[in-house]
Every structure is written in C-alpha cells, then in structure tokens.
Amino acid sequence: MIEEGLSTCKAKFQKLNNKVNVDGHKDWIGNLPNEIIQHILSLLPTKDAVKTSVLSRRWHSQWMFVRNLDFAEFPPNMNQKRKLFMDFVDRVIALRKPLDLNLFALVCEVFTDASRINSWVCAAVKHNVQHLLLVLDQIHLEPLELPHCLFTCDTLRKAFIVADILLNLPSSIHFSNLKLLTLQYVVFPGYESTQRLFSGLPVLEELTLDSCCWLNVEIVTIALPMLKKLDIKENLADQDNCQFFIIAENLNSFYYIGTLRNDYWIYNSVSLDWGLMGLCSTDDIGESSRLREVAQRAGRLLRGISCAKELLLTPYAFEVLTYSEYLCACMPVLYKVTYLGFLSPGTAINFGCRALAKFLEKLPCLELLVFQSGVCLSGNHEEGSWILDPVPSCFSRYLKLIRISQFCGTDGELQVVKSLLKHAEILLQMDIICHHEKFSDGLARERDVLEKLQMLPRASTYCTINIS
C-alpha cells in the first residue's frame, strides 16, 4: 500500500515538476539551507544518510552534521559483510563533526570486537547522547564491559540495553537525567552493585526489567520516588528467588509477567491506576510446597497493587489466589478497583467455584467485569438450577458492564449469563463475543442460542445485550 502511494505521488511530483519548470529541471532540494538538509539526513538510518555523500559535491559532507547515529539495521547472515559494517561504524564515528548526539542506536553481534564496541559507546557518551539503544548479541567469546563513563552520563534521558551480559557496574553510578530505562537479558552480579544501580536513578519514570538474571543478589530494593511505570517480566528459565522491595509513591502502572520465582513487596503505591498480574503456570508449580509459596507471593503481590483502579489477572493468577480458602479470606478489600479483567490466553473462569463469588465480594465498587478467556460452569447442573451465590455486593450497586469472550454456547455458559443478567441490577451492557469455530454444535445452533440470549430476563431495565 505504501509502495503504491509512493509511486503515485512520485508520478504526481514529476508531472507537476515538469509542468512548472520552464527552464529545465530544478534542483529544489539543493536550494535548501544546510541546516535543513542536515535535519533531513538526521531522520534517516545512518546508512542512508552516508549514502547521500555520493549524490554530488554539495552533498559530500552534509551527513557529517547529523544529530542521530542509527546503526540499528542489522540484516541476518552478515558474516562476510561484518567487516564492512564494523569499518563503516568506525569511519562514521571518526568523521562525524563533534556535535551533540541525540540518538545512538546499535544492533550488533559482538564476537571479538568488545573493545571496539566499547569505544563506540564511549564516543556517544562524550557527545552528550540523550537516547541510547544497544542490542548486542554473541557476547560469549569476549566479555563485554560497558564503559564506566556511561554510568555517569548526565545527558542520557532514555536507555535501552538488550544484551546477555554480566553487568559489571562501576563504583560510581549516577544518571541525573535518565527518565526511561529498559534492561533485557542482563545479568546482575551481586547485591551491592545491583543496589548501586538502583540508587543512581533519581529521576527515573519508567523502568522495564525483562528476563534479567539476578546472580547472588537475593535482595533488590527499587526505591524510586519519580517512578510512574514499572514492568517486570521474569526470566522463566531461571531459578533466582530474590526478594524485591519496591517503594514508589508515584507509581501509576505496574505490569508483571512470570511464575513468581521472585517475591515482590510493593509499598505505598497509592497513585496506582493500572496493575497487571500475569502469573503463568509452569510444570513444577503442581508440587504442593511450591504452590503454597506461589500462592503466598501472589497474595502479597496483589496486596501491593491493591490501590489500582484497573486490575488485570491471568486466569492462572486467579486460580492461585483463590486455591487456599485461608489466603482468599486474608485478601484485602479492593475498594478502588472499578475494572477487573481476566486475561487471555488462559482457561475460562469457572463460576462453579465458590471462590469466584468470594473474590468478587472483595471488589465492592466494581463497574466493569471482563472475561477475555471466557467463562464456564463445572459440575452437573440441571438447566436453570445453578445460581450465583452469594451475589457480590457490586452487582446491586456498581456493576455496569460485563463482557464475555470466547463464547461457545454451552449450557454452562448460558446458565452463567442467565444468572448474571438476573442479579446485576444496574447493568447497562452485556457484551458477548462468540468464538465461531468452537461454537458447540455448529452455526445453526449458534443462531438459536443468540436468539435465546436476547430473550433472557434481566434485572436492569436499561440493559442492552450486544452479541458479536
């Protein structure tokens, strides 16, 4: 589609150009002042910017004034061309004018060039880089150590480091301007240096820790007063078992995916708007002592994000939170939650489990309830015999919208929908999203079922049922 658009506008440009210029073709772009040409070149991947040096004499040195160095294109099977690439980066960095750098982006396989890459990062830091993107692979032949000057760079505002490296952290770490930090696959070697890092981020607002390893760390304290967004994705292959203490009064959004290999204590997150607990199951959780540990940790994590207005859980998280009656009873009342979403992929939420009603009772102000993985009803119930008991208090006071996805028209689902409609006294909208392929007994039945649904009695006179 883009290609079409470009060729039509190329055609349009050419046509109009020919019409307008009586004295032959005019080099319009050449008439632009240098700063604008350099601004345009700064928007390009560095490869394209440097290529313009061959256009004409006027263009020969323009690229040397670019404000961004973007070496993030890395085609696969680069082996023979690798030397060309490495020499290219060397040359660009050497020839570029000593201007401040806005962005330095590098995607590269390290092999035996660790010190070379190190010198490139140094050069970026020396030119007051603001945004840094490093995606480094194949680090095993030579350990890569990021230059020490990087860790006290006071112009750095955003940093993305994706590298399976042992983070050898210097004794002095202070990122006075760093607002966004993403670390993926990095290995933290020990408690003290890890602490040094998290103590050197005074203005950090967004932190993402994705599949990191915490070797000999045991305790991680993340006390960041300006932090608004925290995303933690555990390294599912690892056996870390660390305690995370997270103290962030301004935290707005918390996102977690993992198997609770680590323990998370979140304090004072009073500004939290959005909390996602993406607990995934693994084979070993079946074993009972591990399950107890995970359930406790899940309860603790939930308590930490209990101020959230929107709460999202994987069905497995819900299963773990409610498996123990005792732990379920200890769950705090989540007064602020107005939106509860059960995520997909996952198993359908079983209304036959009494724990669901008890869980919903802990959300007295719930307004929106979403089942992305659908609902089901276990056990044998004669048609119409099952009721939702006890009816959670939010049903009569706050619940306005219910959405059920993956609807297959089974008896169980119908009973659930019937009961929900019966009890949700101020419900405005019930959305049912059908899973057409899996619909029980095929499309013909689907039509019947949908008709039946529309005819169901509902407690709330204003309630509409939307089926798709």
């Binding site: 290609e3 440009f13 345009i40 394209d48 061959v54 004499r57 690439f85």
Partner: protein
C-alpha cells in the same frame, strides 16, 4: 488524444473549483468575518507580494519567529507584520495545511516546488511541527532508495568524476550494500 484533453480540462476545472472553495474557507481565517473573535483580534501578516492576511492568534503562536517579534514589540499588533520571505501562495498553503490538521496526504498532492517553498517558509517562521512533518516526508523519499533514484527524483546533478564517485563508494562500502526499494 481528445479524451486526454477532456479529462485534463475537467481536472483543471475541478482544481479551479477547489481553489475557489479553499479561498472562501480561508477568507474566514483571513478575518473578514469576525464571529470568532473574542477579546483577541486577528493578527495582520503582510506577505512578500504585499497581500495582507488576518490570522488567528492561536495559529500565529506556532510561528515562533512572528510570536517573538510581537512580544518584543509590546504586543503591538495594529500594524501588519511583514514577511519578506513568504509569498501569499505559500502562506495560504500553510493555513490550509493547518486547517486540515497537518494531514500528510495533503502535502503529497502538491508540486515539489511548493513543498520546498513550504519548508523554507516553515524554517523562516520557525514552525516546528510543520517543519518536522515536511522534513519527514522528504526523508521518506531518500530512505532505502538507490542513489540513482534520489538523484533523479530531486534533480540532483552528479558533479563527481567516475573515479571520485568510485572512491566514495569504496570508502563507505557498507552503506552501498543491501536491498533498495525504489518503488
């Protein structure tokens, strides 16, 4: 042959109709109707070809050069502010572009000469948003394109000798590697 003539004639008529419509639309911006004026009056700008436009203060705020000029002169706005580097056509296009919410598709309907006039004007008036959009559009015509395409598209005359060109290509070998999409 005749059909071609007919279709280009009707295209021209359509273009003329559109122009009239746009001028009518812009007249409201130019301030002949005062129904949107509260306390702040429209600001008068005089283009290089001596045409005076009355522009809403909110739009003038985006023209940092003009805004600074106004503030430096005690917000004196009764005299039309001269824009010696901007023609009436260009200013009209800028206002039109702004009225369409900086829709990129609109730029692609203009001739290359107009686009570059817009860039020069946006640079002179210091309109950052407009300049960013326009330079991005130009950059997209260079990204991933072959040298031959870029030369042809922008009418750049190659004044290197073949030896000089070969040397540059060799020194930057990696830049000239790989897949280019000239469509």
């Amino acid at each position: 042959m005749g059909e071609k003539g007919e279709s280009s004639k009707s295209a021209m008529l359509k273009h003329a109709e559109e122009e009239e419509l746009n001028t009518k639309r812009l007249k409201t911006v130019e301030g002949e109707e005062s129904n949107m004026v509260e306390e702040t009056e429209n600001i008068k700008l005089k283009t290089s070809d001596e045409i005076i436009f009355e522009v809403e203060p909110s739009i003038v705020k985006e023209m940092v050069t003009i805004q600074t000029f106004i503030e430096d002169n005690n917000n004196e706005t009764s005299i039309p502010i001269p824009l010696p580097n901007v023609t009436s056509n260009t200013l009209r296009r800028i206002l039109e572009f702004k009225a369409r919410g900086f829709d990129e598709e609109f730029v692609k309907t203009l001739g290359m000469d107009e686009v570059f006039e817009l860039i020069l004007a946006a640079n002179y008036l210091n309109m950052k948003t407009l300049l960013d959009i326009l330079t991005k559009i130009i950059a997209d015509f260079i990204k991933n394109k072959s040298v031959e395409f870029v030369r042809k598209f922008f009418n750049i005359v190659n004044d290197f000798t073949p030896e000089e060109e070969a040397k540059i290509r060799e020194e930057n070998a990696w830049a000239f590697e790989g897949f280019e999409c000239d469509d």
